[in-house]
């Protein structure tokens, strides 16, 4: 068991307090940097996609996990990022400008949504964002002159400062760099007053308001930040897809993003990363399962959505903190060995606490 001896106020807000954490993070970053030497191109592209989803996950996590605002339409922001980026690139705008433009546009639309969302409550917001996502998909499909409609839009190749980046490892490093920046930025956000206000609003709007937090403005900020990060992920995703169609940014994609953060663990940046790993492995595991199971079961249509749903149900019912919760318990077990008890993480019994008056 390690005791933390704090000698400075900054010790309270350090990113990584314990030696073990530092070693683990350094190891992971080292492995990620060395990955092009270790992996074949196909796996490298998959790893790059995983990083892109991790970025999108962090974006949604800030909104849903940390600020408590459910969004069923986040793939819409992904789409805004992807389409803005691809359209600007095909008009000859350089990469660095167009990626900034897609982040800014997604963020601005996010703040606009946030402005009206700040007045909505709970599921009104969920259903409004769902409608927003459906509408955006329709807009991408119908605005044919700009987006190529349902026929789709080809994404120009990756080119930074006149340098053509065509191989998998170059694209991978772009993803990695931006993913690290986003994760660091998000972690930083939650040691600052802005991020703390987000969490306060999630835990209780009423008490946050009493503590002088401007709840409406916090929600607008959260939507803006979240949409901007998701827009960035969308721009990077466009390069992975190389050809974008409106259906790629529909409700199913939004649900995939939500699945990611719920299974990963709501309310932690690490959870978003776990979630991204999970949904990258899930299709592989499912196709493996199909081969293993007898054909009468394995080849049944609808097996995938069934398992998809079952996984979510099992995770939410038995481990509401997701993979991150498991990880936390595992760590606690080793750090406090042999003091871990079955009752260490017992959930409190709770009853319905309503915000309604009648």
């Amino acid at each position: 068991m390690q005791f933390l001896f704090k000698t400075h106020y900054n010790d309270d807000i350090r990113f990584l307090a314990k030696t073990g954490e530092k070693i683990r993070v350094a190891l992971v970053i080292g492995l990620l940097i060395a990955a092009p030497l270790l992996l074949a191109d196909y796996y490298l592209a998959e790893l790059g996609l995983l990083l892109v989803y991790a970025i999108a996950g962090v974006g949604l996590m800030i909104l849903t996990g940390h600020t408590g605002q459910v969004s069923f339409g986040h793939a819409g922001f992904l789409g805004i990022g992807a389409y803005t980026h691809s359209i600007l690139l095909s008009h000859g705008v350089p990469f660095s400008l167009s990626i900034v433009a897609s982040v800014v546009l997604a963020g601005a639309i996010g703040m606009l949504i946030g402005r009206s969302a700040s007045k909505m409550h709970g599921f009104y917001l969920a259903i409004a964002t769902l409608a927003f996502g459906i509408l955006l998909e329709t807009v991408f499909g119908e605005w044919g002159s700009l987006t190529g409609g349902h026929a789709g839009l080809a994404v120009p190749g990756l080119q930074i400062f006149g340098l053509r980046l065509t191989s998998a490892w170059q694209q991978y490093y772009v993803d990695l760099l931006l993913a690290l920046v986003v994760i660091l930025g998000a972690s930083n956000l939650f040691r600052a007053p802005t991020g703390r206000a987000f969490v306060a609003v999630r835990d209780s709007e009423l008490s946050a308001r009493c503590l002088g937090v401007n709840v409406e403005w916090v929600k607008i900020q959260a939507f803006g930040v979240s949409a901007a990060i998701t827009g960035l992920a969308g721009a990077l995703l466009a390069h992975h897809l190389t050809y974008i169609v409106p259906e790629a940014f529909g409700v199913l994609e939004s649900l995939k993003l939500l699945l990611m953060i719920v299974v990963g663990g709501l309310g932690s940046i690490l959870g978003a990363i776990f979630g991204a790993i999970f949904i990258s492995i899930l299709p592989v595991a499912l196709s493996f399962l199909k081969d293993v199971l007898p054909p009468s079961i394995g080849q049944t249509a609808g097996l995938e959505p069934l398992l998809f749903g079952l996984i979510i149900v099992v995770v939410i019912v038995f481990e509401p903190l997701g993979i991150y919760g498991r990880w936390m318990k595992l760590r606690f077990f080793f750090e406090t060995f042999p003091y871990y008890r079955k009752s260490s993480f017992v959930r409190q019994k709770s009853y319905l606490k309503t915000e309604r008056l009648r």
Binding site: G122, A126, A301, P305, I312, V313, V317, P320, Y351, R356
Partner: protein
Amino acid sequence: MLPLSDVIHLGITGIAQGCAYGLIALGFVLIYKATEVVNFAHGEFMMLGAFAVLAFSEALGWGFWPAFVLGCLSIAAVGYLVDAQIMRRIIGESQASVFILTVAFGFIFRALAGMIFGWNTRSLDTPFDGKIGLGSLVEINLDRIAIVVATVILVLAVYLFFSRTRYGVAMQAASQNQLAAYYMGIPVKRLVSFTWAIGAFIAAAAGALLAPVTQIDTTIGFLGIKALAGAIVGGFGSIPGALLGCLLIGIIEPFADYYLPGIKGVSAYVVMLIVLFVRPEGLIVQTYKKKV
């Protein structure tokens, strides 16, 4: 401009559609009022209901009505079990998890329905085929009228149940303050599950009555999302509000599809977003800000 008969025809289609939305929304609102859970899988209850009625009528061969009753009751049992086995465990979790859980139920129900009943579109024989003339101007399909009549009957039944019976009043109490209801000796858990059963029953009835209009396949559950949109337009906190909102959505939809083909199928969401931007609590406000 449309001729008058077409306007009336579209209007009647819209009213019937709105009533169907209203039936689904009724279940949404009941469950929401009891548990503050919005059941995104409610459209799937409707889909399962249609399939169950179809299965019973094919298996038993006793005609439509016995199959209708059995099908709706079996879906009510499913609704009861969903709450008693799963939803009950996660009371007090963050709303995000609860929403996502119900969406996951939607996936499971759709997949199971496809596996059990097949992925093809099926049709259900109901006693409501045929038309009746209204003057010499328009003819109305009987199945549309059946939906409207069923809506009126079910809404009336629900109203009487909640205002006149002991159980209904106890449910109202549990909805207003769960903890206080516990203290008063009300079996809150059982009542909440029972509310789920009622909601599922109504949704299943809607599914069976809609079957001649929409046919039956695994995707008709998505109507539930439109019903949700309608309920939000009217204000989720109140049953009359939700029904009115659904009627509104139902009537606007065929006309919007006719005049604005660009937004075919999504006009319900456009209306809902506009209403939400102007009046975030819906047209009929029921919730009030909590005071400290």
